[in-house]
């Protein structure tokens, strides 16, 4: 069931190319704005600023990209899902799909950053692991919050307001690891943060899985 649902997400996504290309363009625009406003390249940027800019762009792209997982859906379609699939299958499929989406956004962001701005990352392996872990957390928490926000009147504002405080702990951990990889510290230095990131991810996925059926019912 979950596989079918994920497959369906991909088919729908490829059919409505405007959505995915919209988010990609959003990411490109943010990064280009960062590039222009900081007038980078001429004056090279320090590590702390690089990681802050990078994670902010990824955060905004993710909030906008994952928001549509429930907010954009038509009422009739939701009722159809309700009748054919269990809520657990739906949230898991959404989370898995959004992990892939979020990872794709992060990789694109990294690629664009290294073209336009700079690529100061020294330990690429650890950095990619951080991107993978953080995309799990983003995907789980934002999918659940998107489901909450979709039931309200001003979904888009609420999506941002509800998600930022929840995401911050995740973001702080990722920024810290990123800073370690930029400074070229040994992997052992980031061990605590990695474990924390993993723990936060587990909490978020478990909560999203447990709580989603209650939202779905209404």
């Amino acid at each position: 069931m979950i596989l079918t649902l994920i497959q369906k997400e991909f088919i729908l996504e490829l059919r409505r190319k405007a959505v995915i290309s919209g988010i990609s363009l959003y990411l490109v625009s943010i990064i280009f704005i960062c590039y222009l406003t900081f007038s980078l390249r001429q004056s090279s940027i320090n590590e702390a600023t690089w990681s802050a800019l990078f994670w902010l762009s990824i955060l905004f792209a993710n909030v906008n990209g994952i928001a549509k997982s429930f907010i954009g859906e038509k009422k009739g379609l939701l009722i159809y899902y309700y009748s054919v699939a269990s809520p657990h299958a739906i949230i898991l499929s959404k989370i898995i799909y959004n992990v892939l989406l979020s990872l794709a956004l992060a990789m694109t962001g990294y690629f664009l950053f290294s073209i336009f701005i700079d690529n100061p990352v020294q330990d690429v392996g650890l950095f990619l692991l951080t991107l993978l872990l953080s995309s799990f957390g983003f995907s789980a928490s934002l999918s659940l919050i998107s489901a909450i926000a979709s039931k309200t009147n001003n979904s888009n504002v609420l999506m941002a307001v509800l998600s930022f405080p929840v995401i911050i702990s995740l973001l702080l951990m990722s920024i810290k690891i990123t800073k370690n990889t930029l400074d070229g510290l040994a992997r052992e230095a980031s061990q605590d943060e990695l474990v924390n990131l993993l723990a936060i991810n587990c909490i978020m996925v478990a909560l999203a899985y447990l709580l989603f059926p209650y939202i779905w019912r209404s």
Binding site: V161, I168, M204, L207, L211
Partner: protein, 222 residues
């Protein structure tokens, strides 16, 4: 709330205000007399966390078995918890103004606390933007549980991972077994209990008012 609990709360707080301002406190570097903030600032955070915890438990109970009472309790505990948090923030900023030189120092503990307050402000905005009462209760219960669980790492883990100027961490004098002498405990523990009891008292009054209002509303509809 039982009448004897109310009397205990009032007596404890009277004692805390008199004892907290007049009793001897140990002389510590930097802190000096401002150590008395311990009796008023720290119980606010203890109270906030306890009240949010109770609100979280009521949210779980609500999802388990929806009822108007449970929803009202969960909201009001969060409400008073938020007030405690704001008071804790203000007392902390007052204290920081004299010891750190600025009210807002960007300390990890301050930032974590600010985010915790943001979570609950978002919770009330969520409640404000759903029309249907039942849906409002359910969505906000889900968010309350999710946000509380995501907040714990913020308040308890992150400030401990980074160096902080807050008393009690990073070699600064403050609240721990070595420098909180037994005299201060005599005021500190009653302060925590007293403030918490007052918090619960306010919550129960507010819950009573909300339930009565609901009853009047139903009465008028009929």
């Amino acid at each position: 709330m039982k009448i004897w609990l109310k009397i205990i709360a009032i007596a404890l707080l009277l004692y805390v205000h008199i004892g907290g301002l007049l009793l001897d406190v140990p002389r510590l570097n930097i802190l000096n007399e401002t150590i008395r903030a311990l009796y008023f600032h720290v119980p606010m955070w203890f109270g906030m966390v306890l009240l949010f915890l109770i609100s979280f438990v009521y949210s779980i109970l609500y999802l388990n078995k929806p009822s108007f009472d449970l929803d009202v309790k969960s909201v009001e505990f969060a409400n008073v918890g938020l007030i405690f948090g704001i008071l804790g923030m203000i007392t902390g900023m007052l204290w920081a103004n004299y010891t750190w030189g600025t009210p807002w120092h960007g300390d990890p503990k301050q930032n974590g606390a600010a985010v915790a307050l943001l979570v609950y402000l978002a919770y009330f905005i969520l409640r404000g933007s759903v029309q249907n009462e039942e849906q409002k209760a359910r969505l906000s219960a889900v968010y309350n549980i999710f946000a509380f669980a995501a907040m714990i790492p913020l308040i308890f883990i992150i400030p401990r991972m980074t160096s902080s100027m807050h008393p009690g961490s990073g070699g600064n004098p403050g609240f721990n077994m070595y420098d909180l002498d037994s005299k201060m405990r005599l005021v500190f523990y009653p302060a925590v209990i007293g403030w918490f009891l007052v918090g619960v008292w306010i919550v129960l009054l507010r819950v009573k008012i909300r339930i009565l209002e609901e009853k009047i509303l139903n009465f008028e509809h009929e």
